[in-house]
Amino acid sequence: MPDKVSPIEALSPASRSYGEIGPVSAEPRWAMVVDQERCVGCWSCCVICKSENDVPLGMWWNRIDTVGDALDTPYREQGELAMHWLPLACQHCENPACTRVCPVGATYSREDGLVMQDSGRCIGCRYCLVACPYGVRVFNWGRPERPTEFHTGMVEPRPLGTMEKCTFCVHRLPDGQVPSCVWSCPGQARIFGDLNDPQSRVSRLVRERGGYQLLEERGTDPRVFYLPPRRKRGLEP
């Protein structure tokens, strides 16, 4: 789609450099860090994801779950109220449950470990959706509907009856651009980079801030690491 201007190209060069990945090792192992301390649950990343990837109405590749029992509501911890979110998209597992079960290999791990989805091959059996422990895949149950007449996305729209999910904005990586959600987060809660470089920001943050993986005990080994919130925000001073 050459004649489309991507949101990132529309920016001034200074703002653009913010979204650049920067130097990486010879064989990068892409990873994302999500800082729960910084996330304010604003859904900006989810919205830009929908526009970047042309995700139809009613479907989210990326969504914000709330810690606790109710949506956008504080929870109680040690007698205090706290409020945190869990931004959730495909975890790009090192050992994905989804690729293993796909009967036709329509979802697969790339050389560099990113988990990809081939909507031209998918038969729509939804076994991957059953197998993924994170509930992040979305299926085209009906004809895709979009809020605009035209396509906003930078990637091919997916047809009826096939599966789709977050790709880590794989189409942006060759240009050295971080995924859209990373670039768009107003709290800079998302950091993207190369896990194979021990000095990269992601590597350091995971090391120093105790980055944890979701459902670590199930052995999927996600490439998305969460940084736990550092303090409880009590309502009383």
């Binding site: 989210w60 869990l86 009967p103 091959r121 059953v130 994170y134 979305v138 004809r143």
Partner: protein, 438 residues
């Protein structure tokens, strides 16, 4: 079904080998009688309705079902498992009878093999409406990924279908040849051929039995190997599936045998039904034992990965289904079949069989729906991915309550009618009565 129940104890035609009395089985019929025409007409109507519903689903997408991202499998997959089970159960009973010399089952072996063939065919057909892109079903053969339990299952279904078709044909070919039917494919009905067929049948039973066990075990592993679903991730899944296959398969065999005798397609004594009733009681007991063992193991820790879904099954939203499964599907049939006096009464055996079959269907529903209705991520509150279904008051946060939509029911009806047509026509045209040698 009630027609079959009507024949009271020991009034049906009896086996000639046992009594020396003349055989009262009707030869394979060529003319269609009124009730048969009516029955086929009704089934044809059901098939048409089902096809219409499927066409509608194809045009609109799976949106017209009530499946959604959090509840991605439903009635179709349940029926797929159910029919695999019916097929495996029927063939296991028939083959085991042959292999281990339970000769008493001989009069209904052909019926069992035919039932197994039609049931596995239906199971395969149920895959089509379930997948989002049936037009790409050929990808399964073009790009197979043998890491996937679903691929293992498709492979075994194809193999098994071939085995059961051969099985059906070997059983029928001597009679077909005698009748001069082209379906005999050139085989002769000689003494030597008969001997060879007997040997072949034994070989087929030897192949068919493990194939049937494998078929249903693999179907169990589609579910039982998934770390994402605590309720499924248990080594007991395959044994449990085999047990439930035996229950539903034997139940269906009893009903079909009674109907086939009523319509004079096979002949046997009432003791055969009592014998199968005894088998059914044993299978029900094994099933109950496995279900109990599974529930206890999962529920004992009180909560967590496995405990939560089980708690929900025992006391939560799906408790009604579960206790129905236990009461109507396990306890009542067992109670009916364990009393010798009731077991000798065809009526009660038939009632127990129907209950056991329904019970296993509900059991399968429980596996699929309860297994899936648990969000696995630790902090579930959030917007669900996919369309929100307004259900009750707690609709917004997570809608995981599933009931099939009318399209799903109608498509299922169509497939069932198709199966009934195939079975009826085959049972009407093929020689079903097993010749009893020595």
């Amino acid at each position: 079904m009630s027609a079959a129940v009507g024949s009271g104890p020991s009034v049906g035609p009896v086996d000639s080998a046992a009594t020396g009395a003349p055989v009262t089985v009707a030869p394979a019929q060529r003319t269609v009688n009124r009730p048969l025409a009516l029955w086929l007409g009704l089934l044809g109507l059901g098939l048409l309705i089902g096809l219409g519903a499927w066409a509608y689903q194809l045009s609109q997408g799976l949106e017209v079902t009530n499946m959604r991202n959090p509840m991605m499998w439903g009635l179709y997959i349940t029926l797929f498992m159910y029919f695999v089970g019916l097929s495996a159960g029927g063939l296991i009973v028939a083959s085991a009878g042959r292999l281990f010399g339970a000769g008493g089952l001989k009069p209904i072996v052909r019926l069992a093999v035919l039932e197994a063939t039609v049931a596995v065919l239906l199971a395969a057909i149920f895959v089509l409406p379930d997948i989002g892109r049936p037009d790409r079903a050929w990808h399964l053969f073009r790009y197979p990924n043998f890491h996937s339990p679903m691929m293992w299952d498709i492979t075994i279904i194809v193999v098994y279908l071939l085995i059961s078709l051969t099985y059906t044909w070997i059983y029928a070919r001597a009679d077909l040849a005698r009748r001069g039917s082209w379906l005999a494919l050139g085989t002769k009905a000689s003494e030597a051929a008969q001997k060879r067929d007997e040997r072949l049948k034994l070989v087929l039973a030897g192949v068919g039995l493990p194939a049937a066990i494998l078929l249903h075990s693999i179907t169990a592993w589609i579910f039982g190997l998934q770390i994402s679903r605590g309720f499924w991730y248990t080594a007991l899944m395959a044994p449990l599936f085999i047990a439930s296959a035996l229950v539903s398969g034997t139940g269906l065999m009893i009903i079909l045998a009674l109907i086939a005798r009523r319509t004079r397609r096979v002949a046997f004594r009432d003791t055969l039904i009592a014998y199968m009733g005894k088998l059914l009681a044993i299978f029900v007991a094994v099933e109950a034992f496995l279900v109990f063992s599974e529930m206890l193991t999962a529920a004992y820790p009180g909560a967590g990965f496995e405990g939560d879904p089980v708690a929900r099954l025992l006391t939560g939203r799906y408790a009604g289904f579960f206790w129905f499964e236990v009461g109507a599907g396990l306890i009542i049939p067992f109670a009916l079949l364990v009393v010798p006096r009731l077991r000798r009464n065809l009526r009660w055996v038939a009632v127990a069989s129907v209950l056991a079959m329904v019970g296993i269907f509900v059991h399968r529903l429980n596996i699929v729906i309860n297994g899936l209705s648990f969000a696995t991520v630790p902090y579930p509150p959030g917007v669900p991915v996919g369309t929100v279904q307004p259900v009750g008051t707690d609709s917004f946060a997570l809608s995981l309550f599933y009931y099939p939509s009318w399209v799903e029911w109608l498509v299922a009806l169509g497939v069932l009618c198709f199966g009934a047509i195939v079975f009826t026509v085959a049972a009407w045209r093929l020689p079903l009565r097993e010749a009893v040698h020595g």
